[in-house]
């Protein structure tokens, strides 16, 4: 099969809407199709990676565990925007999985190299 570069751009907070969760389902499928998958988190999307989700009180399924499964699917290119972290008072220590931190301009260059950019 043809292999393409798929980037998933996540700019929305988790739980307030389902986009983060349903987006993750596409990521796993793209990985199963052996595509060259990367994920970029910017703006409120960085909150998806914040560790310690306890969703029992809102009775919504937590998906933090699924982030842990990304490595099993060989999804290891997890890019995070530095400015978005800083604006929200977050550092990489707050995040649930290892990431690479980039400036917005560097992320722009990575986006430009993609074949397909899916944003949710």
């Amino acid at each position: 099969m043809t292999t393409k570069q798929f980037m998933f751009v996540n700019r929305k907070a988790p739980y307030g809407t389902i986009y983060a969760w349903e987006s993750l389902e596409v990521v796993l499928i793209a990985a199963a199709f052996e595509q060259d998958v990367s994920m970029a988190f910017l703006d409120d999307g960085v909150y998806q990676l914040k560790k310690g989700h306890q969703t029992k009180g809102i009775e919504v399924k937590a998906f933090e565990k699924t982030f842990g499964a990304l490595e099993d699917y060989d999804v290891t290119k997890i890019y995070v925007d530095q400015e978005s972290l800083t604006e929200r008072g977050l550092t990489t220590d707050d995040l649930a999985l290892p990431v690479e931190v980039f400036s917005r301009a560097e992320l722009g260059k990575l986006m430009e190299e993609q074949d397909v950019v899916l944003s949710f």
Binding site: A13, E87, R88
Partner: protein, 97 residues
């Protein structure tokens, strides 16, 4: 009156818009609870408004987002029962959708 905010201050103007209306109580729910997290740009805005507004945040939404342990001082945590009590307490409420 009671202002109910369910939007992240980093994604929508709802929180800052409500702050400009003057005074009363602000309840942060859903993605609105990010306004109550320490260390972010929104913290200073919230603190600067504590003389005009009482601030509340829904515990279940803070926990879901992993920020229950970093709530800005001066924000009172409430559960859904507390949410109901706040609505009962104030004659008028408004959801800033």
């Amino acid at each position: 009156m009671l202002h109910i905010i369910n939007k992240s201050p980093y994604d929508r103007p709802a929180f800052y818009s409500a702050l400009k209306t003057g005074e009363g109580a602000i309840l942060l729910i859903e993605d609105g609870v990010y306004a109550a997290a320490k260390g972010g740009v929104a913290e200073a805005k919230l603190k600067a408004a504590t003389d005009k507004f009482k601030f509340y945040a829904l515990t279940a939404d803070l926990e879901a987002r992993g920020i229950a342990d970093r709530v800005v001082d001066g924000v009172t945590l409430v559960n859904y029962a507390g949410f109901v009590d706040l609505v009962a307490e104030y004659k008028t409420n408004q959801s800033w959708l």
